[in-house]
């Protein structure tokens, strides 16, 4: 009697254990999004989750934990139960938290980076009428003009300490010029509108997707893209990179996935494999192309190194140059 009981118990235990190991994921997953529903990050994550669902065979619930400039959501990822059922999207703003001293989880070491999905380069985009008036045709002219008029050229980023605001500071460092950065708390769209109108600011340092409608209409002209290569599509294909014009500026916003520290290795590998496959999902690729977002996949180890470089070197220097006083 006792023996049978023991055997049954053992059997149950083994079954349970194997079930837990083999059948991850056995329930729905949660993806934390630190930004609001309907925004760029949110739609990117939702599109990716649809692709990932096909790989994992479970539904993924996108949980928008917003507030405090993304801090709440990023902290929620680090705080999550490391059972592999919760992951989240980490975005560029995360590497500024250390310098701004706004989060308890200041550094990338509090996270377990999974992969980077997307990167969109910033561009130096100016009002066309203003450029023509001052004889600016390319990036070299622009830099020369800025050197002749230090601190007079007004460029718009989006909100304070945001990725495009810091982009201006980065460019100032690389090109050795002084710009006046103007913040637009409502977001990049209003900065682009003001630049297209040519009042208040002369140009913007946002991504091309944000400025697209006015570049197409000819109100704005992009002088240089801060990327390694040109964007391969018919609208932006003619826009030169900064590198082509002799300025080694590489700056982009990025979005990636992260786990809380301490997730079981087998589960982690399974999730990483699923992500690798999901990035190639045709629906996801189609979505990203249409939305004007670039896919820039990085494996976990590379992503970690990338985060380290951003947090330790690039971003603090650019923030200092942008005049962000901490």
């Amino acid at each position: 009697m006792k023996k049978t009981f023991l055997v049954v118990m053992l059997l149950v235990l083994v079954l349970c254990a194997s079930a837990a190991m083999a059948e991850y994921p056995e329930k729905s997953l949660t993806a934390i999004c630190p930004w609001g529903a309907g925004g760029g990050t949110d739609s990117c994550l939702r599109a990716f989750c649809q692709a990932l669902e096909k790989q994992l065979g479970q539904t993924i619930i996108v949980d928008n934990k917003t507030g405090a400039g993304g801090v709440t959501g990023h902290e929620a990822i680090a705080d999550a139960d490391p059972d592999g059922y919760t992951f989240g999207m980490i975005t560029f703003e995360f590497v500024t938290y250390k310098a701004l001293d706004v989060s308890d989880y200041k550094s990338y070491v509090n996270y377990d980076p999974l992969c980077r999905l997307n990167a969109d380069p910033a561009g130096i985009t100016v009002n066309k009428a203003w450029a023509e008036k001052n004889g600016i045709k390319n990036l070299a002219d622009f830099i020369a003009y800025c050197k002749a008029h230090p601190g007079e050229v007004r460029m718009g980023g989006s909100s304070a300490n945001s990725v495009w605001h810091i982009a201006g500071g980065y460019f100032m460092n690389v090109a050795g010029v002084e710009l006046k950065m103007v913040t637009y708390p409502d977001g990049a769209a209003s900065a682009v509108q003001a630049a297209a109108q040519g009042v208040d600011i002369e140009g913007v340092t946002v991504s091309l997707a944000e400025a697209r409608s006015f570049i197409e209409s000819g109100n704005l002209i992009c002088l240089g893209l801060m990327a390694e290569e040109r964007i391969n599509n018919k609208v932006f294909g003619s826009i030169p990179t900064c590198k082509e014009q002799g300025i080694n500026a590489f700056y982009s916003t990025w979005r990636g996935l992260g786990l809380p520290n301490g997730v079981d290795n087998a589960i982690r590998t399974k999730l990483a494999d699923a992500c690798r496959a999901a990035v190639k999902d045709p629906d996801f690729v189609q979505y990203m192309t249409n939305a004007g977002l670039g896919i820039a996949y990085l494996e976990a180890a590379d992503f970690k190194a990338f985060l380290e470089q951003q947090e330790e070197r690039d971003v603090p220097a650019a923030m200092k140059a942008a005049g962000i006083e901490i």
């Binding site: 405090a68 769209a189 208040d200």
Partner: protein, 514 residues
């Protein structure tokens, strides 16, 4: 204007079963979403975007526009029935809608709100169809100086919604403006009034604050009234024979509907200004131009009509800069922009050149969405009006738990539930001591807009504020605002005088009785 193409597009949209079905589905969902405090049209639109992946552009746009229009009207349902605006754009509807409900005219208020919403929406859609390029050109001109003065103009309305004591109204308004500065400052990111609460970095979230000030405060006050035996049970004696307002009412409210719809459309067209501002401006304007300003706020149909037509006019207005400039006018259109881009269409000046049939179909879809909203709304009026006849002793706790969940769901943050409760207490105390609540709300909406544009304007002009004299639109808005303030003060004194005469008469009659 290419008429044959326009007619063709309308015919195309209005005969497609799929598009009509989607618009119906959208309006139904939008009305229900809008009616729950804390669930907004933005959220609904954002959540449905992944579902519209597989659809063609026009059906998916019809679905999203249905939610947008339905949500605008839906917010007024809870504003009228339970004193909790379902969306920020319905915040001014409760000024007259809730008193109407208390007078036992809930069904009437709902049908007026629906009819005004429909008319406002149609007006917006018409302006969008015929005047888009003109309005877009105007909207483009709005940069920091103009936005600053637009915000100031919005604030000038405060005097007319202050109630009897202008001093108290302005204290509320400045308190609201002060609350709006909590969190990181918009220009430099400096921390202000944080006191170590990290969630406060982005300030008090607007919707939890709104729910707290109105819904939670009303629940607390309701409990007090019930215990003191002052609560009257509203019986639904009202027989809803006709779900649309009768002809004599329409005759009375049509000027408010027209002016509200136009104000809504124009303000909605300005990027960064939306329904929440338009409703107050429309309410203030219509109250000032009314022959009986003293009746406003006591539950008259004109008040409901003026605000509801304004917020639905906004939906048409906000589409103008979206389509013709590629600049979203508010949060919902920002999401819609994403929907267009996802289908490979970039809204903007080039869209009118390359994709004119699509543009016209979007116009038609907006018209259709308004129509389906009217039909769904008509069907719902009787049902919604029943809510007031529920036992108040059951209703208050239900409102409480539903509202607090709404406050939570905006940011998925328990801190916001706390904020909601805090403002519930503040709202309860302010009601007790007769400080008006609406100025706080308007100040919370306009405060950040006012500050950030002021700081930016001074910054880009290197500290010279008087540069603003070179901006004619801004100067115009400033003059109009000053005129509004002076006129409202004059109006309020007239109202107070009339009221005190009435009281004197009433007192006299009492003393005459031996």
């Amino acid at each position: 204007m290419n008429w044959s193409l326009l007619f063709e597009s309308y015919a195309n949209v209005f005969t497609s079963i799929q598009v009509i079905g989607m618009a119906f589905l959208g309006s139904l969902g939008g009305i229900l979403l809008g009616a729950v405090p804390g669930m907004t049209a933005t959220m609904g639109v954002a959540l449905l975007i992944p579902f519209s992946f597989g659809m063609d552009l026009i059906p998916s746009i019809a679905l999203l526009l249905g939610i947008y229009c339905g949500g605008m009207y839906g917010g007024s349902i809870s504003a009228i029935l339970i004193h909790a605006p379902g969306t920020p754009s319905a915040a001014a509807t409760l000024l007259d809608g809730y008193p109407m409900c208390q007078k036992g005219q809930a069904g009437r208020a709902l049908s007026i709100a629906m009819f005004a919403s429909f008319c406002g929406g149609v007006l917006g859609a018409l302006v969008m169809t015929f005047l888009s390029p003109m309005v877009a050109k105007m909207a483009m001109k709005f940069t920091s100086a103009e936005m600053l003065m637009l915000a100031f103009f919005g604030l000038s309305v405060i005097v007319s919604i202050s109630g009897k004591s202008i001093a108290k109204g302005l204290i509320s308004a400045f308190f609201g403006l002060l609350l709006a500065t909590v969190g990181q400052d918009p220009t430099y990111g400096a921390k202000r009034f944080i006191f170590g609460f990290r969630p406060l970095l982005s300030g008090f979230s607007f919707i939890p604050t709104l729910i707290g000030l109105f819904a939670i405060a009303e629940v607390i006050a309701g409990v007090e009234r019930i215990i003191n035996g002052e609560e009257k049970q509203q019986k639904s004696e009202e027989k809803i024979t006709n779900v649309l307002p009768d002809f004599s009412t329409i005759k009375k409210i049509w000027p408010n509907i027209i002016s509200g719809g136009l104000i809504g459309t124009l303000i909605g067209a300005i990027p960064g200004a939306g329904g929440d501002i338009a409703v107050f401006v429309s309410y203030g304007f219509n109250k000032s131009s009314s022959k009986h300003p003293e009746l406003w706020g006591t539950g008259i149909p004109n008040g409901v009509a003026a605000t509801e037509s304004a917020n639905n006019g906004c939906s048409g207005g906000a589409m103008i800069p979206l389509l013709s400039l590629g600049v979203p006018g508010d949060a919902v259109t920002a999401v819609l922009l994403g929907a267009f881009i996802m289908k490979g269409i970039q809204p903007g000046p080039m869209m009118y050149v390359n994709e004119l049939p699509t543009v016209y179909r979007v116009f038609a879809a907006l018209m259709l969405a308004n129509l389906t909203m009217l039909i769904v709304g008509c069907a719902g009026v009787r049902f919604f009006a029943k809510i007031v006849s529920l036992d108040k002793k059951m209703l208050y706790p239900i409102i409480l738990v539903v509202s607090l969940l709404g406050a939570f769901s905006i940011n998925k943050n328990v801190f916001d539930v706390g904020v909601c409760v805090l403002f519930g207490v503040i709202g309860y105390l302010m009601n007790k001591f007769e400080f008006p609540l609406s100025p706080i709300l308007l100040a919370l909406i306009l405060g950040p807009m006012c500050e950030q544009n002021f700081v930016r304007f001074v910054d880009v002009n290197n500290g010279n504020f008087w540069e603003i004299l070179h901006r004619p639109i801004a100067v115009g808005f400033f003059l109009v605002s000053v005129a509004t303030i002076l006129f409202s003060i004059y109006n309020q004194q007239k109202i107070n005088k009339k009221e005190s005469e009435n009281r004197k008469k009433a007192n006299g009659e009492v003393s005459r009785i031996p």
